[in-house]
Symmetry: C2
C-alpha cells in the first residue's frame, strides 16, 4: 500500500516525523485526469470500500460531474444509471459516505473510494454491504445477517 508518510503529516498540519531510513518512499505528483473517454457513456466504475475493514460495500458509476462533486465535497457522488442523474449516496437514506482516501488505477479508468459509511449500511436492501451473498456450489448462499435498517421504513413501501 501507498505510505507517503511525509505528505500525510504535512496535510494534517503536524510536524513531520523523522523520515524512516529505509525504505524511503518518494512521492511524485501527476495531474488527476480520469479517462472518461474510455467508455461510450462516459461512465467509470467506482469501488466503495470501508476504510477501516477493507470490506467492499458497493460498486457504482461516476461521470466527470460526479467525480468533481466527490472531490469538492468529500462525500461520495455517483451517476445513477436508472435515474440518469447525479446521485449523492445517502441523499434519501442519510447513509452518506465520507471520503477518507481515493485510489486511482493504472489505466485511470477505475477508482476506489475508501469511506466511512454513515448509518452503518451501504445497500438499499438494508444490508451493510451490497455483497451480502456468496457463491456456494451451484447456488448463491444468502446469509440472514441482520439488516442494519428496514428498507420500507427508509425508502417507503413500494
Amino acid at each position: 500500500m501507498c505510505k507517503p508518510q511525509i505528505c500525510r503529516a504535512k496535510k494534517r498540519g503536524k510536524k513531520c516525523r523523522p523520515v524512516p531510513k529505509a525504505p524511503i518512499l518518494a512521492c511524485t505528483e501527476t495531474m488527476i485526469e480520469l479517462n472518461f473517454a474510455k467508455t461510450a457513456d462516459g461512465l467509470l466504475p467506482a469501488v466503495v470500500q470501508d476504510f477501516k475493514t477493507g470490506e467492499v460495500l458497493m460498486l457504482a458509476y461516476i461521470n466527470r460531474l460526479a467525480w468533481e462533486k466527490t472531490l469538492a465535497t468529500g462525500k461520495a457522488h455517483f451517476w445513477s444509471r436508472s435515474r440518469a442523474s447525479l446521485w449523492l449516496k445517502g441523499e434519501t437514506s442519510g447513509n452518506v459516505q465520507l471520503i477518507k482516501e481515493i485510489l486511482v488505477d493504472c489505466d485511470q479508468d477505475t477508482v476506489v473510494y475508501k469511506v466511512e459509511q454513515l448509518g452503518g449500511a451501504a445497500c438499499h436492501t438494508g444490508y451493510r454491504s451490497c455483497f451480502y451473498r456468496k457463491v456456494e456450489g451451484d447456488g448463491l448462499s444468502v446469509c440472514d445477517q441482520e439488516r442494519v435498517f428496514d428498507p420500507a421504513a427508509v425508502y417507503g413501501a413500494k
Copy 2:
C-alpha cells in the same frame, strides 16, 4: 460479512461446531444468475480483492463465458475489452489468480473475486495492485513502491 458457519465446516469435511445460540445464521440457496443483460455490451465489472488482506488488486470485466470459465476452473477469467477475447488473468505473466470466494451484489450485476494472487502482483506495470496511486490535493501521488516484477522482462519490451 457472510458467516455461514455450518456450511463451511461441512464443506471442509469437518464435524460441525455447535451452532451458536444467537444469532443463528440461516443460509438459503438461490440460483446463480448474473444480470448480463444489464449492459449493452453484456459486460459486468468484477472487483478482484486479495483474500487475506482485503486489498483491491484490480477491476476487470466479465461476460457469461468468462464467468462460466471462472466457476469451472477456479481461476479468474475476464473479457478483455481491448483484445475482444477471453482472458485468463496471468496467461502471459503466470500471475494467475486462484479463486477463494466469490461475492455477488444485490442487483446481480457486479461480483467480487477474492483471490490468492500468484506471483505477488496483479498489475501489468509490475505493482502488486493496479491501485498504486492515490489522490492527494490536486494531484495523484505516485508512491515508489518497489515493483514486484519488471514489465519489460515479463511482457517483452515495446
